[in-house]
Symmetry: C2
Subunit: 413 residues, 2 copies
């Protein structure tokens, strides 16, 4: 009998391994391998390949120029390096020493993108999957905040709510801080909005929001808070796989002609959150921030509801000034504790971001401006969130001051 | 000024599109394309490839034989078909008409596995990523239950709990039914366990648990319930990406020599769940089920805590009979409303599953035995969950009956 049970146990393993496509042994290749000096070796086995390359955001970016409607536009694209073929058709590339970060990469095999089959860690950005790895060179590095450490962990929930304004159920991701389930405390709320073509999974997956918040709170650098990450593409309900149809997401058309959809529908979201979570309500306990399209949405939400958000973060995305001068004045009349504008030096949005900052400076509207290296990337947005979150809900509200604003003409370009 | 704003808006799109690796336009290829007759066309563009193949669980399985310790073991592997090259290096394959199911596939390009870059839908099984698609041929098909329909949706949460027995924090996935946040009702609980090398994401992602439960509840076929999906690999805390280290999961060694870790540590989990969720407690409101390793664990949990689980489901995994005869007798003395054993005809675990069924029949212990087509696959486990869930928490508990059991020798092989 024991022999039979043993055979059955072998069968269990063998059958499972085969039916699930050789899950057991893996590729036998270690990739990526992080060395003690923070160089990283990438490996890919393919004896038939002629050229194997790697592209990733740890390689020096390449300048690219395109012409749109007669205008030349410069931007940067991730660098590309060749792997060298060694024994058994194993191709290899070792990076320069890297700083602590979360990095993305893909292989390019004879011109076609291929995932690294030896690395289970992947991320989806809109419709594009890439491999990722985090490198925690030193405590306090950005990469250190994106890794999971042995600290108390918050909960990440995918929750549906009714949105009568848009006539549909919609899905959001909610981070509640460690201890939420076991306590009865109320917490302030950060509404955190994604970019064009993104969805309610983006900030949790690509943005590492839960890890950033867990680590900042554990270090005493941020206050425990609830982070609500809704789907902000007005015609979508939810991320691919969680939505009714099997749609393939794109960036195109995900931004409406106006932001009226998010402005009109936002009370549906806030009503649900404030009713069903233990929320500290009010101006000094409510923040809104977003990246790219979500930055523009956050700006417009602050203009539409000037007495609602005591903290506002515009990451690589801003609203226009023209026609909104009085509304901006009203926003600042309430004396928000933080109006944070962040953008990368190489980001096309820098033009608009800096212009809003200059205009606010001229008006005497206090904004915090953070100019980072790099462009329109998740690497920057994770950093902006890390900076922004540390400043939230630490100030007492002040009384609104009288509305005033000056004309635009002084800084018109 | 408007011209500048327009340019900035173009830049926003162009920069984002490039920095995020051409997220906007996609591949320009439609794959998979589901036709009205339920045939499916797969496309992959690569003019340099010599051979492009597809492997997937919608293709007829191939028999495979391996020898382990002098024993020949037969099992099945997914079929492989060639794609044909057409214009512009676009390779294409069209399937036979398919029944409504969730299917997995990958391309094989010159011998190496490649993901379908035109299909954003992917799943991870242990360390292996594959593309997926659901086909909802007719309402009531298995595939129909795995798709998202416009019905009330439950919440899926990733929650950490303290497990002092194993000396660590651990992560679980919790499904709470639609209305949980907005009501004050108490719900019965199904503990649902994954297989070797799996993790707390497996049942939610590969198993489509939330979709199955949402759809069954909406149709009135299942009672609303809480489904708790813990991490059951005793030395792991959490799934890759959510765990402290950047481990690459494997099936090897994920099963301990005994199931004592899950048996000993299970009260930590139940204590947390019953304290922090609105749970209907007790034998008739508590179920346990699992697949493969999780089936064996469910069996052993029912033996260890015979008065705890009124419903037990063993999906392609069972515990041994020898030495446990008295414990099985005790389990059935409590008169569980459902002791469900399911296995595929081609599954190596069928030997043990049928043997347990035969022994229970001989003892007069009522079990429900479900023999399906196929092998040790998620396709089967999703079906078993769909069947099992419809029978849960619909019966009133009966009084325990006296313990009795007969010897093993009568059905000894």
């Amino acid at each position: 009998m024991k022999r039979l049970l043993f055979a059955a146990s072998l069968l269990l393993f063998a059958t499972a391994a085969s039916a699930q496509q050789a899950l057991g042994p893996g590729t036998g290749i270690v990739s990526p391998e992080i060395h003690p000096d923070n160089t990283v070796t990438f490996r890919y086995q393919n004896p038939k390949a002629k050229v194997v390359q790697i592209t990733g955001d740890f390689l020096p970016a390449q300048p690219v120029e395109v012409e749109v409607d007669g205008q030349k536009i410069q931007f940067t694209a991730p660098g590309v390096e060749d792997l060298k073929e060694g024994a058994d058709g194993v191709w290899e590339f070792t990076s320069a020493p890297l700083t602590g970060e979360l990095y993305s990469y893909s292989f390019i095999v004879d011109g076609k993108k291929v995932m690294d089959p030896s690395n289970v860690h992947q991320n989806r950005d809109v419709a594009t999957w890439t491999n990722i790895f985090t490198l925690s060179a030193r405590p306090g590095d950005p990469g250190w905040y994106y890794e999971v450490h042995d600290v108390p962990h918050g909960t990440v929930s995918h929750v549906w709510y009714d949105c009568p304004t848009l006539g549909k159920q919609r899905r959001m991701t909610v981070y509640t801080p460690a201890g939420y389930e076991t306590g009865n405390q109320h917490y302030p709320v950060l509404y955190l909005l994604h970019g064009s073509g993104g969805d309610e999974d983006a900030w949790a997956d690509l943005g590492r929001t839960a890890q950033i918040m867990d680590n900042l709170v554990a270090e005493g650098k941020a206050r425990p808070m609830i982070v609500v990450m809704p789907n902000g593409v007005w015609f979508n309900q939810a991320a691919p796989g969680a939505a009714v149809n099997n749609f393939q997401p794109t960036m195109a058309n995900s931004r409406s002609q106006s932001t009226v959809e998010i402005e009109d529908s936002f009370p549906d979201l806030m009503t649900f959150v404030e009713k069903h979570y233990r929320v500290s309500k009010g101006y000094s306990n409510t923040a809104v921030a977003g990246l790219s399209m979500g930055g523009r949405q956050s700006c417009m939400l602050s203009l539409r509801y000037p007495d609602t958000f005591g903290y506002v973060g515009l990451f690589s995305g801003v609203g226009g000034i023209e026609g909104n001068e009085e509304r901006f004045a009203t926003v600042f009349a309430y004396q928000p504790k933080l109006y944070f504008i962040a953008c990368g030096k190489d980001d096309g949005v820098m033009v608009g971001s800096r212009r809003l900052k200059d205009w606010c400076d001229f008006q005497g509207f206090p904004v915090q401006f953070y100019e980072s290296e790099g462009g329109h990337t998740w690497r920057n947005w994770r950093t902006y969130l890390t900076r922004f979150a540390q400043q939230l809900f630490k100030q007492q509200p002040r009384a609104p001051r009288p509305v005033r604003f000056s004309g635009m003409s002084d800084i018109e370009e």
